[in-house]
Amino acid sequence: MIDLSKTIDLSTTYLGLKLKNPLVASSSPVCEDLGNVRRLEDAGASAVVLQSLFEEQIEHESDELDRYLDASSEIGAESETQLPELTRRVTGPEGYLTHIAKCKQAVKIPIVASLNGTSPGGWMSYAKQMEQAGADALELNIYYIPASPDITGEQVEQKYVDLVMAVKREVKIPVAVKLGPYFSSMANMARKLDATGVNGLVLFNRFYQPDFDLEALEVVPNLILSNSHELLLRLHWIAVLYGNIKADMALTGGVHSHTDVIKAMMAGARVAMMTSALLKRGISYLDTLSTELLIWMGEHEYDSIKQMQGSMSRNSAPQTGAFERVNYMKVLSSYAMR
């Protein structure tokens, strides 16, 4: 029997990091647990993006703590306080930073730290601390929802650019930025970010829209795991951007099978990131995935991942129009014919 892993090269590079394959665990609470990070490595993940450090959450929790400690103080002569003094200083990013260090000790694969910030000061200082804690790279998760009608698209774009530039100045390790797809001109936005010297774009953030509970008449948070349909939006934009920007691209959202990984590569991604698939099928699914990847490549006579990367991008695909308005019209008319 032929050992495909010896004949087929699954390796790729992402953010300047040499990876044994394109299967990367995306940022999620799965990575909060050191045991899980070890299991991810064992199952074949080539890198792990840790869960996000939420600056907002750190501040919010401190503010809430402050608020409730105060609200229960000075109530009366008998109860000047209701809760004891904190025995230790509250942990801000320390827990996260320690986790980075522990992960680095525990596994050999690269550890990418993920930062979700709200203030320029927060972005800078936490990014630096993550670098110092030993992160191999940094993923900036810019989950920004401009709900105010006074904020223009230009302002939003500038905010992203300023932020990335500032973080790039602050750290020496590679920096990727994770984005949502909702820009008027996604390609232009990508180019603007590329111009900052950012090392990677992670496409795309999933937008967690709240749902309505019709019985309680309440707006409720809603988390639905991704599915392969979500892949298509990502494929589209990676294919469009491939060759137009210097930054590496990572596809995240909707990767559930080896064919999804292959599609991601063909569109031009350097890595395919996943969480939902692992939550649904377990961490060991990564092992299955890489085997299936090898089999498919063997059957289709591909030698390496690098060989297929970008092979179906906008510039390389046989039907260039498929990525443009022409395709839109085609799809609509085909639907009408059914």
């Binding site: 703590l65 409730y68 103080s73 000075e74 809760l83 004891p84 200083r89 942990t91 008449l217």
Partner: protein, 1188 residues
């Protein structure tokens, strides 16, 4: 180790409790504690320091253990001492009384230890948390030595002297100082160093103590029982030790003086060497007397003061030697009262000492300062003036007006000895607004950053919502002995604008003082919004007037509504005590120290507030004339009854000190229904009813903690004369469709908690956030809604007999007989208390354990328990903390006996009163409201008949006839009582079979004393004495009671199921035997927004943490499983419930790994408990499989 008086010691600004705990923690190995005001903080400090791994002088961290009561703490301490540990405790008042049995033992066994006591009044006609010596005086026969401290510095010094003297003399000591006045006064003191402590504690004496311990390697037996032949002699065997003790104490004082430089004596004299009149006293009052004596001597008077430091053993010779020979007359001042005695204790000791030494002086004795009654230089002068009289009054009182037995001395209240050059600043703040904390920091800054002497004292009113705090700060270049409140202030700050119309904040402002006001009105408009009294004083006293919109600064800097650091910055800027830049740097340093552990963002926003404050500070140009058209509000409305006008109103107005003895009830008995007259207007927003949207479910009425939302169903004709804005709609009751329904809010009594809005299930179809009840601004509605409320009250109550008690919808129509209490806004306890009074209030007796429920239920000035239109209502009493179950059972025993006797009398008098009536009374079925109503009617008839029968039986029966109507006894208290201190009694009462109902308001901590852990505190929660998270699981009190099989038990959570709660109350009351209801009560000590309290209750139940159940022994007779599990299997994780609360998340934030460990264990607890409950609910009963 050596130490010397030349050593530089840190100057720290701390309170008396911290000073005592500082020495105690470093010189002991085992500390057994139990919370009681005002000593709790000593235990809290000790616990915190041990949690922070701070070591004692031997380099080991003392073990601090919380016991179930002070009796338990004393027992544990006794054991620790017997086993050779250096051990200590802290307590006060009733706590000390509970320790007395062990104190006799500890002293009888000549065991060295020091108990540190924040001396507090013992409850008599009333409870008081405030300071006097009645507790320590009650312990004076135990054989403990007694050493008194008069100031914070002395507390630290005497704590050490007592420790050293106790070890050497083998006599245990009570080291006591005045509760609140010294225990809570913040003052600048020189802190003893560990070297000082080591130098004072003789290692050989420590070894000797250990060598006397119980040790199986050299066994002894201690604690024999002795017979008449030897007990007496053995009791006398200790005499040499007591005789030697005064010398040992003086030696310790001398040694201390050599090391530290401060010299104390057993008796310290201050004043003129040739004094003719002197006072003798102990405690903080002695410092006041010292200041007064200094002033009088400077004015040429021959007066003096003898401070008694070592009170027991009383050193007669030293005492007489300390008296100047020139003394002609002596006034002995006692801060306690011993009714019926020949005099108070210190007076009697002085008389005896003088007599024994053959010294003839004129001696009078008097009482002062009971329960922290102000004791001022004016009163001291009054005493000296009395001594100058030919026939001075003996057994006098000073500081009150006794117009009954005329004991009180007259004095000139204007007399003042305030030290020149001292800044005296007063700050008025709102409870929980941070004013007190900021002022504590201010006085620390002044004490530690300048050469000034500094003192801070903080006064709270007794409300838990909307309380007013007054901070009294003094600082200046000369030593401060002014242990009394400021009455001449050079600076007054009012942090809450609304106070201006509630109280006279400028009363104490002296001419030329500065007034700082937090006002949303700008510098040009603020004047027009001031009441006349305020304007007049600003003009007449020529005050410099500054204002700042602190709220605006707070909003801009992310501080929400918290203005404390903003106002603090303004105070420093205006007072100029430090150069501005230095002051700001010092404030920031204190912010870092106070809030640093809470996280960087908290520090940052406070810094931002400090930086922004001064730009918003304005001096206000004061007009020449009073222009305002309104004034400070009356404390109570004119229509309030006489007692309220004469008595209650004075207290509300802050003039309670002026009430004479004759105004007082002689035995602590007070009228009910007085809270209704105290219109506090503390809510900025109140609920407004949308009558169209309302489904009349009554949930808002049920959850309202202050009974400010009421509903009535009534005939339309009652609407005649209704105010124009009064709302009424058709009642949505099947059998009352023709009638009207009104939901009315009491706008001036609401605290604005929003629980009602949160619970309201009716949402607008077009705008979902709009509910049938919504919060709106109070001021614009105050007048109209107050008129509507007045009108609403006049509408007749809905007839109880027509309602179904088990329906929440119907229960809302029952008049609550508990209203407008001083409980916290959003309180989780009071909805249960209110429900209890709605269901049974017209025929209930309440035994209330000390705690939150006794404070909001019974703390003056007003009482929330009230009467219905027939004059019936709950009869309420508080005995103690530890005995409440027994107290309530006693009530039941009396009722049962009286009922039995009344029945006998009815039977005996059957012929005279008519057999039919007699039989009807004796056989009355009082299970329903209708049955009770009918019995009331019969008893009415009976009384009429008895009035015409002139026999002793008939007269007896008429005094007992009321008991023929079914009475309900409720034993109410918190978890501290039920799980801990009162558990033994509760257990006994539950086992007694007597028909009592126990309601445990379970907040899972000692809420009233400030959130200390009880056995109800859940695993993983942080509480005081469990600062690192409680390691053990909550005791399952309900299940323990279930084990008896004969007790009705229910575990309820109103927010999870109001119906279940109502049902449980009804079943508990109906059960003819003991009943226990354990009620989940959300509390500010849990650390989240109380508006979400009911939601959290739901989460507690949904997570399986708080399964609802009822155990009804009556079902056994029906061959049914008595255990009914009333909530479903856990549907959310424990984490989803508990991590909404700061008491859990503060551990997550500060020690995530520990939090995770405890969460896992707690989740396991839930699973195991659920398994057990589920099994019990479904186990085969009487051979039959119970239906699932």
């Amino acid at each position: 180790m050596t130490s010397s008086s030349t050593t530089t010691r840190p100057q720290v600004t701390i309170d008396g409790n911290e000073a005592a705990a500082y020495v105690a923690h470093q010189t002991n190995e085992v500390i057994a504690i139990y919370p009681i005001t005002p000593s709790s903080n000593m235990g809290e400090w000790a616990d915190q320091w041990s949690a922070e791994q701070k070591t004692n002088i031997w380099g080991t961290v003392p073990t601090v253990v919380e016991m179930q009561s002070e009796g338990g703490a004393a027992g544990a301490l006794h054991g620790a001492l017997q086993a050779g540990a250096l051990a200590t405790t802290f307590t006060a008042s009733q706590g000390l009384l509970l320790m007395i049995p062990n104190m006799f033992k500890i002293a009888g066994e000549l065991t060295p230890t020091v108990f540190h006591i924040a001396a507090r009044a013992v409850a008599t006609h009333a409870l008081s948390i405030f300071g006097d010596h009645s507790d320590v005086m009650a312990a004076r026969s135990t054989g403990f030595g007694m050493l008194s401290s008069n100031s914070v510095q002395e507390v630290m010094d005497m704590a050490l002297i007592a420790q050293a003297a106790s070890l050497e003399s083998r006599i245990p000591f009570l080291h006591f100082f005045d509760g609140f006045r010294t225990s809570h006064e913040v003052a600048k003191v020189e802190q003893l160093t560990p070297d000082d402590l080591r130098a004072m504690i003789d290692e050989q004496l420590v070894s000797a103590h250990r060598n006397r311990s119980l040790n199986p390697d050299r066994p002894v037996l201690r604690g024999t029982a002795q017979n008449p032949d030897v007990f007496f002699q053995a009791r006398e065997a200790c005499n040499p030790y007591y005789l030697a003790a005064p010398t040992i104490v003086q030696d310790a004082m001398d040694k201390f003086a050599k090391i530290v430089g401060r010299q104390y004596h057993l008796f310290d004299y201050a004043g003129a060497p040739d004094a003719e009149r002197i006072v003798i006293m102990m405690g903080s009052g002695a410092d006041v007397a010292h200041e007064t004596v200094d002033a009088l001597v400077a004015a040429g008077e021959k007066v003096g003061l003898l401070k008694v430091r070592l009170y027991r053993p009383f050193a007669v010779e030293d005492f007489v030697e300390a008296l100047p020979a020139s003394v002609k007359s002596i006034a002995v001042l006692d801060r306690s009262k011993e009714p019926g005695a020949t005099g108070e204790p210190l007076y009697c000791d002085v008389i005896t000492a003088l007599a024994e030494m053959g010294v003839a002086k004129k001696v009078i004795g008097g009482r002062y300062g009971l329960a922290s009654k102000e004791f001022t230089p004016a009163m001291v002068k009054g005493v000296f003036d009395e001594l100058a009289k030919k026939s001075p009054k003996n057994h006098f009182t000073v500081g009150i007006h006794d117009d009954v037995t005329h004991t009180s001395l007259d004095y000139d209240p204007q007399f003042s000895t305030e030290v020149e050059g001292t800044v005296r600043a007063m700050f008025f703040g709102l409870g929980a607004d941070g004013t007190v904390g900021a002022n504590k920091n201010s006085i620390k800054i002044i004490g530690e950053e300048t050469d000034n002497f500094a003192q801070g004292y903080f006064v709270y009113d007794s409300k838990k919502s909307g309380a007013i705090t007054t901070s009294h700060l003094r600082f200046g270049p000369r030593p401060l002995r002014s242990s009394y409140l400021i009455s001449k202030a050079s600076f007054v700050a009012c942090h809450q604008f609304s106070f201006l119309e509630r109280l006279d904040v400028l009363k104490a402002a002296e001419t030329g003082a500065t007034f700082l006001l937090n006002s949303t009105f700008g510098p040009d408009e603020v004047w027009d919004h001031l009441p006349r009294t305020v304007q007049r004083q600003i003009i007449e006293k020529k005050l410099k007037f500054y204002m700042i919109d602190g709220y605006e600064v707070a909003r801009q800097t992310g501080m929400g509504e918290r203005v404390n650091t903003i106002m603090q910055t303004c105070f420093f800027a205006i007072s100029g005590v430090l150069p501005r830049e230095e002051a700001i740097a010092a404030i920031k340093h204190s912010i870092e120290k106070t809030y640093g552990k809470r996280g960087e963002s908290v520090v940052k926003k406070n810094f931002a507030a400090v930086d922004a404050a001064l730009d918003h500070l304005h001096e206000v140009k004061v007009p020449e004339k009073v222009t305002s058209l309104f004034d400070i509000r009356r404390p109570v409305p004119v229509e309030a009854p006489g007692f309220v006008q004469r008595f209650t109103a004075k207290i509300i107005a802050g003039e309670g000190d002026d009430l004479p003895v004759s105004a007082m009830p002689i035995d602590g008995t007070f009228p009910v229904s007085t809270a209704q007259w105290e219109k506090r207007n503390i809510a900025l927003e109140i609920p407004a009813w949308d009558e169209e949207l309302c489904i009349q479910c009554g949930k808002c009425v049920l959850v309202c903690p202050h009974s400010v939302i009421r509903a009535k169903v009534y005939d339309e004709k009652q609407l005649a004369g209704a105010p124009a804005t009064f709302k009424a709609v058709a009642a949505r009751w099947k059998d009352m469709k023709e009638r009207k329904y009104t939901l009315q809010v009491a706008p001036e009594d609401c605290t604005g908690c929003t629980l009602c809005v949160e619970i309201c299930p009716a949402k607008s179809k077009s705008e979902v956030k709009h509910k049938a009840i919504n919060m709106v601004a109070q001021p614009p509605l105050r007048e109209t809604e107050a008129a509507n409320w007045e009108f609403f009250l006049k509408i007749p109550e809905t007839d109880r007999t027509a309602l179904s008690m088990s329906q929440v919808k119907d229960v809302q129509l029952l008049r609550p007989l508990f209203e407008f209490s001083g409980a916290c806004s959003g309180c989780g306890e009071t909805p249960y208390v209110k429900l209890m009074t709605q269901l049974f209030g017209d025929r209930m007796l309440i035994a209330n354990a000390t705690g939150c429920s006794s404070i909001y239920g019974g703390n003056l000035p007003t009482t929330p328990y009230c009467q219905n239109e027939s004059g019936q209502g709950p009869a309420w009493s508080n005995s103690l903390f530890e005995d409440n179950a027994e107290f309530g059972m006693g009530m039941r025993l009396a009722l049962d006996k009286q009922q039995e006797y009344a029945h006998e009398l009815v039977w005996r008098l059957g012929f005279a009163i008519g057999e039919n009536l007699a039989q009807a009374i004796l056989n009355a079925d009082q299970k329903t409201e209708q049955g009770i109503f009918e019995q009331r009617e019969r008893v009415k008839q009976l009384k009429e008949k008895l009035a015409e029968i002139h026999t002793s039986d008939a007269r007896d029966l008429s005094t007992l006839a009321d008991v023929l109507v079914k009475k309900s006894v409720w034993i109410v208290g918190g978890d501290g009582w039920a799980y801990d201190i009162g558990y033994g009694g509760l257990d006994h009462v539950l086992a007694s079979g007597r028909n009592v109902n126990v309601l445990v308001l379970d907040t899972e901590v000692y809420s009233n004393t400030g959130g200390q852990a009880s056995k109800a505190t859940p695993r993983g929660a942080v509480a005081k004495f469990a600062a690192s998270g409680k390691q053990t699981g909550k005791k399952d009190l309900a299940m323990m009671a279930v084990n008896y099989g004969s007790v009705y038990v229910a575990r309820v959570a109103m927010g999870a199921s109001d119906m279940h709660t109502v049902k449980s109350f009804l079943e508990a009351e109906a059960y003819h035997g003991p009943s226990l209801i354990v009620a989940y009560s959300h509390c500010i000590a849990h650390g989240y927004d109380m508006a979400d309290g009911m939601e959290q209750q739901k989460a507690a139940v949904n997570s399986g943490y708080w399964p609802l159940f009822r155990f009804n022994p009556d079902l056994i007779a029906q061959n049914k499983n008595p255990f009914q599990l009333d909530s479903r299997a856990p549907s959310i994780t424990l984490k989803e419930y508990i991590y909404n609360e700061t008491r859990y998340t503060m551990l997550v934030k500060s020690n995530p790994e520990e939090a995770k460990k405890l969460l896992d264990l707690a989740q396991q607890d839930v699973a195991e408990r659920w398994k057990l409950y589920d099994y019990m609910a479904h186990e085969p009963f009487n051979g039959a499989e119970v239906k699932k």
